[in-house]
Amino acid sequence: MARKAKPKAGGFVTTTVEVEGRTETRIVEVPAFEPAPWTTDTPLHIVGTRVPRMDAHEKVNGRARYTADITRPGMLHAVIVRARIARGHIAHFDASAARALPGVYDIMGPGDAPAKTRLFGTEVLYHGQPVAAVCADTLANAERAARAMAISYNHLPFAATFDDAAAPNAPLVKPAGNFAPQSPVVITRGDIAAGLAAADIVITREFRTPVQLHSALEPHGACAEWEGDRLTVWESTQGIFRTRGDVARALDIPQSKVRVIKDYMGGGFGAKNGAGAHTYVAALFAKRMNRAVRCLNDREAEQVDSGNRPATVQRVTMGAKKNGTLTAIQLSADVPLGISGWEGGPAQIYHELYACPNVHSEERFAYINASGMQAFRGPGYVEGAFGLEGAMNALATALRMDPLALRRKNFTKKDPRQGRPYSGNALLACYTEGAERFGWNAPRAPQSGRVRRGVGLAAQVWPTGGGPPSYAHVRINADASVDVLAGTQDLGTGARTVLSQIAAEAIGANLSHVRAIIGDTEHLPYAGNSWGSMTTPSVGPAVRMAAMDAQSQLFQAAAAMLDTTPDMLDARDSRITVRDTDRSMTFADVCKRLGNVMIYGKGSRGPNPANTAINTFGVQFAEVEVHLDTGIVKVLRIVAAHDAGRIINPTLAESQLEGGILQGMGYALTEERILDRRLGMVMNPSLHDYKIPTMADVPQIDAFFVAGADAAANHTGARGIAEPPVIPTAPAIAAAVADAIGAEVLHIPLTPWRVLAAVPARH
């Protein structure tokens, strides 16, 4: 059981928050009170139920307004012109022909944008880099003008692969150098040499993973409009406040003068965490022309220059005793980041999933002349799991051991990096229930014929504690309807629904009276980015606390009306009852008698428990069919068992599992950005050539949750779940393919030619 920190209300404390594998220390204000946690035994009526997604009506009748749907009076359209070389300088820029075209309002080229936007210099660092922009009365006119711009370049040599960038005489990728500042990143525990020496068996493998593109169907985009010195930006973003900060910093204006609005959003998956070139272009043109301006990526720009999951090469050495006990895990990884990004490599999961005393990783991060990486759903862990879990499966084969038994053998009861207890960990139950529903131990028919079946599995761990700062307000209107206000955003995950459920439960309201208002920096209290599967565990507790505060005020008013004391009152379905009596009032009765009083509850997310690891765990099983003559892999079945603490809405959470599994399946089988090494150019920037899964690719999916509330993680008992299902998907599928053909394929995606090349000659 984790120890709860007991900080004093009103003061400030230091707490740690894990964001996508990075641990951040934060100083946060201690909430006025810390609600008692909802435990597994707490009777709840709305939280935990399969409420339909509360914003689904707008989505199915076409009325949901996305950033691309925003129009403003007199709005102009902006188009970004992108570099057609991988490295060099702009030698000559002539926009006169473009400027003379009908409908063209304004053009920005080299030197025309403020330095802090980092736009439109003369140096080109990658193919697809923004080099100029045009705005016109219509999108067609803007596109025509963009094509009419005459730009010539001086070419310089470039590096399009890790090896090219790391070579002794490599061209200079960018002025700051070819390696990220922290590279190489070395993480170590124990004594790796001793661990390898102590092993009865040692295996070594080299795994390769591709660049995966987010491919959100709604492209990055912004619409900007100034009113005097105040700027409003409609942006398709996972972080309205981060976008506001980016815009304020880049344009050198106070944050209070910038309003960022995000209503509906067509997917983000990690690529939409702040302002981008499109945002600054829209805002700058809007200022210069004194008109609203909208700037959207087209599909090619979206696939080329809006972020990606970087490729990796992972050399893994793993040692174990004959009984399967791990003695050593060693990773050496190369990660080409693109022209920017951070040191988010595959190593973390190697250190976190198993109880191995000796773990050593070394990751090298090189810049290459290609668009920069961005977080992509489970960043680092998805890449790392392919290597770690691939090595575990290879080790099981070498040990002639059941891969599930090998994982049980190395189960860790504590966070193996720091020895902290977990807030909750039901991974063993996931193994048991997943194996049972999959039929892992069922006898299998001998394989023959040209189509072979195989089964495999992989596990996952992901930091999902969330944390402060995050604030929420809950107000009860004069007609007893309830507004939940939080400056968070719903990417399509279901945050509106989940936060409404938490508020309705905590205040005792009928859910149909509750509405979540999110996605607007002007009127809503701060919440962080919707990344790292953090929204539910970060914002949920703040919403619950705000709802409790509002309920307490409502109860004080009602107590006088019901001739009792507040502590004798209960609320459910928007009705207040006096305990052990038949006296009651509806919320509406109370509010009517109060008149136009607005009850306003405030809540904030308290600090995380000290010295506690908060993670989501899970395992996935795959069954595949492989055609020995074509190398085509068909995934037949996925069983996914995850432990994410309390599930606020099982239907929505299962949708996250299914969606994550399908993105993981694309990563395993078909998705790979092709960057031509000689041109430095993306060769498949379309949804035809970059293949995400279609309905025809969907296997039978049985995705479910084990365990109940995690009362030690936070007082709602919920952890995050959006990213974890991606993590074990590719290694489980690869293990099933290896089982089917009798040989490992260490390079994803498992394209037919890679599989064919691996099929042993005996077949």
Binding site: R299, S655, G660
Partner: protein, 166 residues
């Protein structure tokens, strides 16, 4: 030229772009989405004279005298929904919702042509409509549920779920 969109006659002067431009920019029917702009994803699927087309690949000028149904015309003008839209909600077949209008039009068309589609018929009809959130399993279930419910009620009710524009 003139055309009928969601049951309403529209007169349009000299349209230059695609049907998608006309719907979104001239008629403010933004429910139909632009994603790939080249017929790869199905997000802009609408009904043209009762058949599905990609609005991004259909020239507006070629639509003179036609009848178009978009997502906004699938239910009633007041925003109330048909059974397919209801089923998409019940089965959680929309996550971010960006592909959903195209999915619904494609699903509607399937059920008009085949009242009792097998799962493989659903997959064949729907696999031109991409979804990055991965709602496919839920879409299949929603379509199956509507097909079953319509068959059950077809004895008593004449033409359920036919949009005004079809």
């Amino acid at each position: 030229m003139q055309l009928t969109v969601n049951g309403r006659l529209q007169r349009v002067a000299d349209p230059q772009g695609t049907l998608l431009d006309l719907l979104r920019d001239d008629l403010a029917l933004t429910g139909t989405k632009l994603v790939c702009d080249r017929g790869e994803c199905g997000a802009c699927t609408v009904l043209l004279d009762g058949r599905t087309v990609y609005a991004c690949l259909t020239l507006a000028a070629a639509c003179d005298g036609t009848t178009i149904t978009t997502i906004e015309g699938l239910g009633a003008v007041d925003g109330s929904m048909n059974d397919l839209q209801e089923a998409f909600i019940t089965h959680d077949a929309a996550q971010c919702g960006f592909c959903t209008p195209g999915q619904l039009i494609a699903a509607h068309d399937l059920l008009v042509r085949n009242a009792a589609p097998s799962e493989s018929a659903i997959v064949a009809a729907m696999s031109g409509n991409l979804c990055r959130c991965g709602t496919y399993p839920k879409i299949v279930r929603a379509i199956q549920a509507v097909a079953a419910a319509r068959r059950e009620s077809s004895a008593t009710s004449a033409t359920p779920g036919v949009p005004r524009g079809a």
